[in-house]
Subunit: 432 residues, 2 copies
């Protein structure tokens, strides 16, 4: 049996597959004490209680009603209406269900969008996805049906303080580089996540506005991935505006609110983009799964107590902010005196650690940590569109999740500290 | 905003999209009295009761356990083990979880498989999917990421009797044609559905064995789609054997057992094929949905009363057989004296009607029926790999579902009969 080129491309070991394999390994092997890799959200009792209430309210008979029929390929009609109303309440966008499509998870939406807006074009042109700031989500890297089509801008790095303390930094978009890449003429869309997975960076409203204007001037879409951000799960610690324009494509997800395995991505965009996504849903999987519509709809139908809006703002966000602070304190304590720098924690469920001058690559550190029972994700995965082979910064960074409980974070951070110190020490021993 | 070639290809109006749009139209427009299009299964109380019991047994707390974590990209580990045990009990295949992957519905599996085993190959070769017998499932037609890659063999048509009555026919594989197509040298895989959607044909064990031997001799896989067949939902009215060999890829689905909107496809194949599907799952959607694993697992863990095996054989199959017979009787009664021929009803949930010499195309008949409140699917959609523009047979056939209740079948069949008679009558009036 011989695989096609498509088969060879997609059966390679990708970053996303590595991540999912690590999740399965952590769950099944018994060898991992601290799972700080992956993007599994925390289990938050108050949020689970709300979803459990929805499960009970739906009931067994309601379950049968929902699962007995396919939804349309755009998604469950009532859910689309509830979502349109929800977004209009929050942002006054004036959208209708024609502006919304459901996908089998947000990753699935990015497979669609990147292939819709890059790769081969009629007339022999090839277009690229422009990532205006890397590091950026590794799951983007391998979704193209043929070869990767990315151009990316390395960020400017700004030293920052967090809670009055130094040792932090923030990425800023290098707009001169972004404009240079756009002017090169083969960009099909601009894409960024907000907050950014992996760094926890939140692009400012000014940065988004400038990207939007640039995209409009090139007649290309601006895709913004809000999987960790507003309005749900709302894991961002600085206030932001969400804007919608005809050339904006906004992606949302129920995963990080606590429903990862119901696989529910939500795309808000112009109707012609939604029509293309519906068509892709039909051809690739007939229709998206429908149960999440029934489970999440009651929580999206209002914004009061027990709504997803209220839970996001008053439960989920403070939960993660407290855990981020816990992890930061522990890291700085364990690695006091070492050149640890942490990206300004502005959102998402990860800390992005930068070990400047680390004598080993974080790929090696990842392997050592895995052997010691702690999983993280090495930094170099997060630079789609960049050749990182000579890029020190990429290999000095790693992503760790802080979604685990405090005991697990203690174990994992203690391992990280021990092996990082060891690496720096070995580097000193071998220094000329 | 400009779409890529991929975007243009996948945003076309495909057969699958038409079908899904019709489902949504039927559900939402209030204009359709008889939905005999689409592939939505019937709601069977005894089966729903079993799934409802599983829902209740899982409970709200169990629900949280399931949805709170991604499964691995191959699927829920416990579900894979249950499925391996299930298949080994039925067929003694000796498989392990490494032989099984879960996809977001069976359609999704075919998107993967057809792109894995046809299209562009290294070295500049292009390979095709060989459909040894068309008509074949329309959802196959548009899944290739670039252009369709099919070769197909028209069937031999054999007059048959059903319950002692003439007016029936059965498709048989034209093996001379199949061998000619294989010898042409660019076939990447052979694929068939069993029972066949749309015709209800069930390929015989001898036909499958011969296809398997041919596939083996060309070192290509034989893909068999059991979405409507053994072992669940078991909607086939003639006994069949299921064989597994290293070059077989068998596809199953929970949809037609009553869970269409949980989107659960199951692929059984050699571990290297399963690894490729897992990798595709990871890249395209991280992981398949997990809830169906929790709902269906209890019904697959044994074969006694209330198991999916028992329900398939003793409830689902007789249910559809009775409904097929009801629809057949009604059709023959309403169209007595007209040249209606029905494909031998051997399984699946459809009747395949052939109106020989019909003066209008069934595309036109479909439009007329839709305007009159009845949905069916015109035949020409079901001939991937065949140029049907000059093919009378394709345009004389249509597919109607018999999954609806008797009252709905009465309405729909009455409409079909009225408009078919009208068409024949007009043809006579205009005859020279």
């Amino acid at each position: 049996m011989k695989f096609s080129q498509f088969g060879h491309k997609f059966s390679q070991k990708t970053g996303a597959l590595q991540l999912m394999d690590d999740l399965a390994y952590a769950a099944g092997s018994g060898q991992i004490q601290a799972m700080l890799g992956g993007g599994n959200p925390a289990r938050i009792p108050e949020v689970e209680a709300a979803y459990q209430q929805a499960y009970s309210d739906l009931g067994a008979a309601g379950f049968s009603e929902v699962v007995a029929s396919y939804s349309g390929s755009q998604g469950d009609a009532a859910f689309l209406q509830t979502l349109a109303d929800f977004f209009n309440r929050q942002y006054d966008w004036g959208i209708t269900p024609a502006h919304i499509a459901i996908t089998n998870g947000s990753q699935n939406a990015f497979f669609y969008l990147f292939n819709l807006f890059s790769g081969a074009y009629e007339g022999g042109q090839t277009r690229q996805i422009l990532l205006p700031l890397v590091p950026e989500y590794l799951g983007y890297a391998d979704v193209h049906v043929d070869a990767p089509h990315f151009v990316a801008a390395r960020p400017q790095i700004e030293a920052t303080q967090y809670r009055g303390q130094a040792g932090f930094f923030k990425y800023r978009i290098d707009f001169a580089e972004v404009e240079r890449l756009l002017a090169a003429g083969d960009v099909g869309a601009i894409c960024c996540s907000r907050p950014t997975n992996p760094s926890g960076n939140v692009l400012t409203d000014a940065e988004i506005a400038r990207l939007s204007a640039l995209a409009a001037s090139y007649d290309i879409p601006l895709i913004v991935d809000y999987a960790y951000g507003e309005p749900f799960p709302g894991i961002q610690f600085t206030p932001v505006q969400l804007s919608l324009a005809p050339h904006h494509i906004l992606c949302f997800s129920l995963s990080k609110t606590g429903l990862p395995s119901l696989r529910t991505g939500i795309v808000v965009a112009a109707p012609e983009v939604i029509a293309a996504i519906s068509a892709l849903n039909a051809t690739l999987s007939l229709a998206p799964g429908r149960l999440s519509a029934a489970i999440a709809r009651p929580l999206l139908a209002h914004d009061g107590k027990g709504s997803l809006r209220q839970l996001s703002q008053e439960v989920i966000r403070p939960f993660y902010q407290a855990r981020a602070d816990f992890a930061i304190d522990l890291l700085r304590q364990e690695l006091a005196g070492y050149p640890l720098r942490i990206h300004q924690p502005e959102g998402a469920i990860f800390l992005w650690l930068w070990f400047e001058g680390l004598p080993i690559s974080t790929n090696t550190l990842y392997e050592e940590l895995k052997a010691a029972g702690t999983l993280v994700v090495p930094g170099a995965y997060y630079f789609p569109g960049i050749d990182t082979s000579q890029d020190r910064h990429a290999h000095e960074c790693l992503r760790m999740s802080y979604a685990q409980d405090e005991a697990t974070l203690r174990i994992g951070i203690s391992s990280i500290a021990r092996l990082v110190k060891q690496a720096y020490q070995k580097g000193k021993d071998h220094a000329p």
